[in-house]
Structures are given as structure tokens and as C-alpha cells.
């Protein structure tokens, strides 16, 4: 085993060594702060030194902590699970904590996600997004009475809805969708993902209700399968496929 470890150590050391030393990163950030500058947004540029293995979030913190304390952004866990720091990086929706400096240096553009009202800098109003979420009855519906132990579910039944349980409600998908940008009524991909998670759960009995909601004019048939949502999802959920599966359930009238 020891020689084996030696090989790996060498590989890891090389990668680290190659990546050591700071690089210069210029961040072009779209700002908005009515308290300072009225209703017009503007661009600011900050040039910082960063470790190539730092996250974009670390770089934004460096700006906030040592260049401009008024820069506003949301963040919490800093490793892609809490879903707070969705921003648009070079035109693509990403979590700032899952983008590494080495992949964007020497220059990157950071903007708030689109389609939700901007409140300050990179912070948008999430209420319309969560309204869409709540509209699809995002909780298990089953009035059949609870057994003393767990409800049984086979590994295959569990697998059926696995992909959509990964959703962290970061809004990357919904705010990358051109239909959502243009159509205020559309519930958007994330809400459909959440509905999918229950519709295909063998323990749930609320599919009919949810599918009726999603068959409505604000529902799944707004989707034009541009796949932006799937590309944007930081959890690797096949969002468009989930939407198509919900459409099919409605068309087959299986509920």
C-alpha cells in the first residue's frame, strides 16, 4: 500500500504546488443601492489577489471586507448546500461558493440572478420564488392513517424521485428560464421540481391536486424546453426531464 500512497501523494503535491501563489482577479460587479445612487444600477470593478483554489464567494468577501463594506450579498454554508448565494457569473447562474477562482481568473462579471426584483447589489426579492414553491403543495399528502412503524417503500420506488429530492431552492433554475423572465404568472422550474418530488413518491396521495395546479395556465405547459434550467442547476438535477415527466403525467391523464 505504501508505494501506492507515494504515487498519490506526488500527484496531490504537484497539483497543490502548481496551484500555489496568488493570482490577480478582477471582478466586475453590477451594483444597485437606492440609498446611495437612486434607482439606476451601475458597474464597479475591484481587482484583488486570490488563491486559485479560493471560491468566488471568498473573493466577494475579500471585496466586501477590505474594499467596499456596502457590497451586499447573501451567503451561508459556503459549500453548495444552503442555496443562499446564487448569482450570475459571466452570464450563467451559479452558486458563488461552487465557482473556483482558477476557473474564472483573470476577470469575471457578477450580477444578480434575473427575473426577481433586485433589492440591493446581488440580493434579490425571493418572495415571488417561494410563492411559486408554496403553490404546488410541497409536502407529503397522505390521509390513510399512519402505521406504527415506517411506511414501506422499495429501493426502486425510492429511486424514482431521488433526483428531485436534491433541490436546495437556490433559484438558479427558475431565474435562468426565459419564460419565467417574461411571464409573471409562470411558477418556474424549481416549483415543478418540488412538485415532481412528491408526485412520483409512492407514499404520496396528492398527485391529482398538484397536477391540476400545474396543468393550469401558469403551470408546466409554459415550459419551452430550452434546458437553461438543467444547465443552471448546481445540484445536477435533470430539471427539464422532471418537467417533461410532469407534463406527460398530465397528458396521459393518469391522475
Amino acid at each position: 500500500m505504501a508505494t501506492d500512497v507515494g504515487d498519490v501523494l506526488e500527484t496531490s503535491d504537484r497539483r497543490r504546488a502548481g496551484a500555489s501563489g496568488k493570482v490577480t482577479l478582477t471582478l466586475r460587479i453590477r451594483r444597485y443601492n437606492p440609498e446611495l445612487r437612486g434607482e439606476e444600477s451601475w458597474w464597479d470593478e475591484f481587482t484583488i489577489q486570490a488563491d486559485p483554489n479560493d471560491r468566488l464567494l471568498d473573493a466577494l468577501h475579500e471585496v466586501k471586507w477590505h474594499h467596499d463594506g456596502t457590497l451586499a450579498l447573501r451567503r451561508s454554508c459556503a459549500h453548495g448546500i444552503c442555496g443562499s448565494d446564487a448569482v450570475m457569473v459571466n452570464g450563467r447562474n451559479r452558486l458563488a461558493c461552487k465557482v473556483l477562482v482558477r476557473d474564472i481568473a483573470p476577470k469575471a462579471t457578477v450580477e444578480p440572478i434575473r427575473g426577481l426584483p433586485v433589492l440591493k447589489d446581488l440580493i434579490v426579492d425571493m418572495e415571488p420564488f417561494f410563492e411559486g414553491y408554496r403553490s404546488v403543495l410541497p409536502y407529503l399528502i397522505n390521509d390513510e392513517g399512519e402505521p406504527d412503524r415506517e411506511r414501506l417503500q422499495s429501493p426502486e420506488e425510492r429511486q424514482r424521485y431521488d433526483d428531485t429530492t436534491k433541490c436546495i431552492l437556490c433559484a438558479c433554475c427558475t431565474t435562468s428560464c426565459p419564460i419565467f423572465w417574461g411571464d409573471e404568472g409562470y411558477v418556474g422550474p424549481a416549483a415543478i421540481v418540488q412538485a415532481h418530488r412528491f408526485i412520483f413518491d409512492s407514499r404520496d396521495r396528492g398527485a391529482r391536486e398538484r397536477l391540476q395546479i400545474l396543468a393550469d395556465k401558469t403551470g408546466v405547459f409554459r415550459c419551452r424546453t430550452t434546458f437553461n434550467c438543467t444547465d443552471a442547476c448546481p445540484r445536477g438535477i435533470e430539471v427539464t426531464k422532471a418537467i417533461q415527466e410532469v407534463k406527460r403525467e398530465i397528458l396521459l391523464d393518469r391522475f
Binding site: 453548495g80 410541497p138 415506517e150
Partner: protein, 579 residues
């Protein structure tokens, strides 16, 4: 401007403990949940490996075996009746989550699947047992989502992105409500209430290397500490052995539960020397210390020889991809390492506060050596100290703690609110917060909060981490004193009222300082090594003098007073901890 609200109950924090308490309370009494984050952003969501309960779905198991492991894992500082109660109620709590739709992994016959975890054994230490119920390595995410879904179903009233900054008491010492800052507008809100339950989570951000979110700044603990409530067992802070090298991101113990092993620079599976029976699945404090020992003796890995390797190359690919997908992705993204072929560099990371706000088994905050309840004041989850984790928490027991004691706390609080009347508010209830914020905003020049925070984190990592000494802790006490002086002169750049996170980060730094202070004082006083508290100058556990809980009080003159209360024993005789 100040806005006034009146509720029966206020729950502060919307992670697992807060949401579980809200589910219990909201059906019965007027309840508001106040959270500085959107609830689904809470740190419960990042818990990975599992939640233990003796379901016996895969192997023979009993709650009593689980309780024994919890007591032994906690190095006998655990209150034993409470630990037994938690392990007994665990079974029902897990079924409840399942009935609410939690997507647990399943056995071939459709039951909740279970796997091994550190320190969990069959029949009082014979061998590892499969006790952890799990959903891939996203168990915390699923618990948080499921509890939030149940809150949506019940129309629970949330105040999101509201920072609670002060606790209010009536003149006769009853809980009267809280003061909160609304991030979106900068306005203050006074929430008058008969009862308040704190569920504000941990304080890992006082250390440089931590698995904790940026927002885990010990808010509830500090708010109550400032108001004279003692902090219990603060010297016991868990350092999880497997954090991503330098970044501290958690790599779940489930990796070792599924068969992963630790190697030193020489490729030796060193845990065989430290814990011959359970090896890599020894409790976290033992593994973290073993890693430090290997590094100290020159067998550390990596360019700086300050890491060790986590090795999963021998595991079947489907185990890695299906049971540990997120952990695998962390290694790929943040380290550029392919775990199926390469070793993953890890180091211990500040993970979990065993100590905190002292409570009884119903979540009531209790003070003094006689554990006297404070009327209307509750706490649950990581910010609380029941104590079911003692000197070292077992893996998975934090998720169990939040559902069991979140439920118990919420239930007791609802009952309390039904019988109690609404205490009068003190005069100018928002005064303390208003003055604090106004002073920070008014200061044109002063210390930079980010720089002070970095100094705090660096020095706590150097002096109050896995290995401690009197000399180091005295130095840390001095550093804290200096930081406190400079903190009094902190200035923020953002003077606005809209999403002023600059201001809130400065306030949170104050909370961190008020968590570090009782930690350092209690650690300095405790001249023994027990669980996660390792004193290099006192390497033995000393039951004669130190089998007791510490309580640290902030005195009106700013000094810290320590007092002690007995550990609730009675089921298991304290014994040496061997694995």
C-alpha cells in the same frame, strides 16, 4: 422607528430544532418563528451521514445500547437519564419524520436502511452496529426540507431575515420577548411574548478551520450570556476529524462508516494503534487527537505535513457514487481530487458545540447548581446543552437531538403559553440594541470587524483547538481582552438601512467574542482531559475533581464567574473509555 408585535410564543432560529418546535407549538398557540436566514438555508441542511435510532432494521439493536454508547462517547459527562430518554424517543421521532415524507434510503424489503457510524456499537462496545438512518449523504438536507414542508403545510408564521439581537425580561425575571433587526429595512421590532425558544445553532465561526456556515456565530448563546444566563460546558467543542484540508468543509463520518480509512504519510492505517476494536470508527475526539499525534510525530501528509489521508479507493464504485455522492463531489470541486483513484487530504475542523444554554429535558432554560428554570425561556438544538452529548457528541446524535428536544421543547412551551399571562415589557425595550447599532453606525473611523474576526479565528485555532495548554489558554485570554477593547471601537462602512450586512457582521463578531470568552475561561479552569477538551499539561481524566458540568456567568463588571453542577448519573458507572 420600532414596530411592536405580540405573540404567545417566539421561536428564534429555523433550523431543525426551531422548525420541529414550531410544528409542535404553532397548532396550539400563536407562534412566530424569527430567523436571520430563509429557513431552508439553515445549517441543519448540511448534516450528511445520518440520524441514529435503534430501529433494529438491519441488525439487532436496542435504545439502551444507544444510550450506553452516547454516555461513553461523551466521556461520562452526559446526563444519563436524558440520554436514555433521547435514545428511547429516537425510534418514534424517526418514524414521525418518515410519515412526513422524509426520503430515507431503504432496505431491500422496504424498511429504513441503516449504516455504521463512529462510536455506535452493539451490546456495550462489542463491535460497530448499523444504527444510522440515512438519505444518501444528505440526511440533514432531507430533515430540514421535511420539517420546513410541514411548517408550510401548517401555515407557520415566519419572519425571515430578521436578526434577534436581545432578550427581554420583565422586572420580576420572566421572559417578556425579544428585539429583532429587520435586514431589509434596518427597522427594529419588539416581539412581546410569553415564551421564547432559542434554536440558533452553533458558533464554529470563532475558529479558522470550521465546517460551520458563515452565519453560525452563537447568537442565542451570546444574547443570553449578556443577560446573565450561564453558559454550560463551553470548553467542550467538537473537532471533527475529517474536514477538507484548509477549508474545513465536512466530509461525513459516513465515509468511514461505509469502509473508508485514514492513512498517515507512510500509508499506515494509524487508527489500528489508537482504537484496536473500532479503529477508524472511534469517537471523533479520539480520531482528531490521533491525527494531531501523527502530525506531531512527523507522519503528517501533504507539502506542509499537517494533514492525513482519507482513503476510499478500495470501496465499490456504487457505494461512493450512491451513498456518498455529495462528499465525493466536495473532494472533486474543492480539492481537485478524484476519490475513486486518489487520496483525500483532511484535517480536523471545528464542528459542534457540546456546550451552550443549559436546559432540562423539556427545553426549559435552567440556571444555577440546582438547575432552576427561568419562566418562559427555552432552548433546543446545538445552542442548548441538555446535556446529552457530554464532553464529546457521537456522530448522528445532533440530528437526533434537534428532533427529540425540538419536539419536547415546543410541546412544553405550548403548554406554558396556555397557562401563562403576558409579562409587561421593560421600559424602552429596544434601548440596548438601538444604542449598540447607533454607536457602530455613528463611528466614522475604527477597527475593521473582518480583521478582528480573522485574528479571533486564527488565535482560537492555534490556542484553543484540539490540543490545549495552560500557557496557550492564558495567551488566548489576553488576546480576547485586546480584541474586546478594539471591538468597542469597531466601525462599519455601510451606513445604510437596507440589507446592511456590514453592520450585522460586526454585531455577529460581538456574539463570537461572547462565545469564545466562556469557552476559554472554562477550558483554563478544567485541569483534566475529557472528551473533546484535551489539556496537554493534564492528560488524564480526573473524575474525583472534574466529573461535573461547568457554568460560566458574565458578571455585571465584565468578569467571568465559574460555578459547577453535578452530572446526572445513576445508570452507568463511569469507566475508562477504550475502543
Amino acid at each position: 422607528m420600532t414596530t411592536f408585535h405580540t405573540y404567545d410564543a417566539v421561536i428564534v432560529g429555523a433550523g431543525g430544532a426551531g422548525l420541529r418546535a414550531a410544528i409542535e407549538a404553532a397548532d396550539h398557540v400563536r407562534t412566530a418563528v424569527i430567523s436571520k436566514l430563509y429557513p431552508t438555508r439553515s445549517h441543519t441542511g448540511t448534516a450528511q451521514g445520518g440520524v441514529c435510532a435503534a430501529l433494529g432494521n438491519v441488525e439487532e439493536d436496542y435504545p439502551e445500547w444507544h444510550a450506553f454508547d452516547t454516555v461513553k462517547g461523551g466521556d461520562y459527562l452526559v446526563d444519563q437519564p436524558e440520554a436514555l430518554l433521547m435514545c428511547e424517543e429516537a425510534v418514534d421521532a424517526i418514524y414521525e419524520l418518515e410519515h412526513w415524507g422524509l426520503p430515507f434510503n431503504r432496505t431491500p424489503d422496504g424498511k429504513i436502511d441503516q449504516r455504521r457510524f463512529g462510536g455506535h456499537t452493539r451490546n456495550h462496545g462489542e463491535a460497530p452496529v448499523k444504527r444510522a438512518c440515512y438519505a444518501a449523504d444528505r440526511t440533514g438536507h432531507m430533515i430540514l426540507q421535511t420539517l420546513y414542508q410541514q411548517c408550510v403545510k401548517r401555515n407557520v408564521r415566519f419572519f425571515n431575515e430578521f436578526y434577534v439581537l436581545d432578550q427581554l425580561f420583565s422586572d420580576d425575571g420572566r421572559c417578556a420577548g425579544v428585539v429583532a433587526y429587520e435586514l431589509a429595512t434596518g427597522e427594529l421590532h419588539v416581539f412581546r411574548a410569553k415564551a421564547v425558544l432559542y434554536a440558533t445553532g452553533g458558533s464554529g465561526r470563532m475558529f479558522k478551520v470550521t465546517s460551520n456556515a458563515h452565519t453560525l456565530t452563537g447568537d442565542g448563546q451570546a444574547i443570553l450570556y449578556r443577560r446573565g444566563i450561564p453558559m454550560q460546558d463551553m470548553e467542550f467543542f467538537q473537532f471533527h476529524p475529517t474536514g477538507v484540508y484548509k477549508m474545513g468543509i465536512l466530509l461525513s463520518e459516513a465515509v468511514r462508516g461505509e469502509g473508508g480509512i485514514l492513512l498517515n504519510a507512510e500509508g499506515e492505517r494509524f487508527m489500528e494503534r489508537y482504537a484496536p476494536t473500532v479503529k477508524d470508527l472511534a469517537p471523533r475526539d479520539m480520531v482528531s487527537r490521533a491525527i494531531y499525534q501523527e502530525i506531531k510525530e512527523g507522519r503528517g501528509a501533504g507539502p506542509n505535513k499537517d494533514a492525513v489521508w482519507l482513503d476510499v479507493r478500495h470501496l465499490p464504485r456504487e457505494v461512493i457514487e450512491e451513498k456518498l455522492p455529495d462528499v465525493t463531489e466536495f473532494a472533486r470541486i474543492y480539492l481537485g481530487v478524484e476519490p475513486t483513484r486518489e487520496l483525500v487530504p483532511i484535517q480536523p475542523t471545528a464542528h459542534y458545540a457540546m456546550g451552550g444554554i443549559p436546559t432540562d429535558a423539556d427545553g426549559r432554560v435552567v440556571v444555577g447548581p440546582e438547575a432552576t428554570p427561568v419562566p418562559g425561556l427555552y432552548a433546543a438544538g446545538e445552542c442548548a446543552c441538555v446535556s446529552v452529548h457530554g464532553a464529546n457528541r457521537l456522530g448522528t446524535n445532533s440530528l437526533l437531538d434537534i428532533v427529540v428536544f425540538g419536539r419536547r421543547g415546543g410541546r412544553h412551551l405550548a403548554g406554558f403559553c396556555r397557562d401563562a399571562d403576558l409579562p409587561p415589557l421593560p421600559e424602552r425595550p429596544e434601548g440596548f440594541v438601538r444604542d449598540l447599532l447607533d454607536a457602530m453606525l455613528a463611528r466614522e473611523r475604527g477597527a475593521n470587524a473582518a480583521d478582528l474576526r480573522t485574528e479571533l479565528q486564527d488565535s482560537m485555532f492555534d490556542l484553543a483547538f484540539v490540543v490545549r495548554t495552560e500557557e496557550g489558554l492564558r495567551k488566548m485570554r489576553e488576546i480576547l481582552g485586546g480584541l474586546r477593547e478594539r471591538y468597542a471601537e469597531v466601525a462599519v462602512q455601510d451606513k445604510g438601512s437596507r440589507y446592511n450586512t456590514d453592520l450585522m457582521e460586526a454585531v455577529e463578531l460581538g456574539f463570537l467574542l461572547d462565545n469564545a470568552e466562556p469557552l476559554v475561561e472554562a477550558a483554563l479552569a478544567r485541569t483534566e482531559s475529557r472528551g473533546a477538551h484535551w489539556r496537554d499539561d493534564f492528560p488524564q481524566r480526573d473524575d474525583v475533581n472534574w466529573l461535573k458540568h461547568s457554568l460560566a456567568y458574565k458578571q455585571p463588571d465584565g468578569s467571568v464567574r465559574l460555578e459547577y453542577k453535578p452530572v446526572r448519573l445513576g445508570i452507568y458507572e463511569p469507566a475508562e473509555r477504550k475502543y
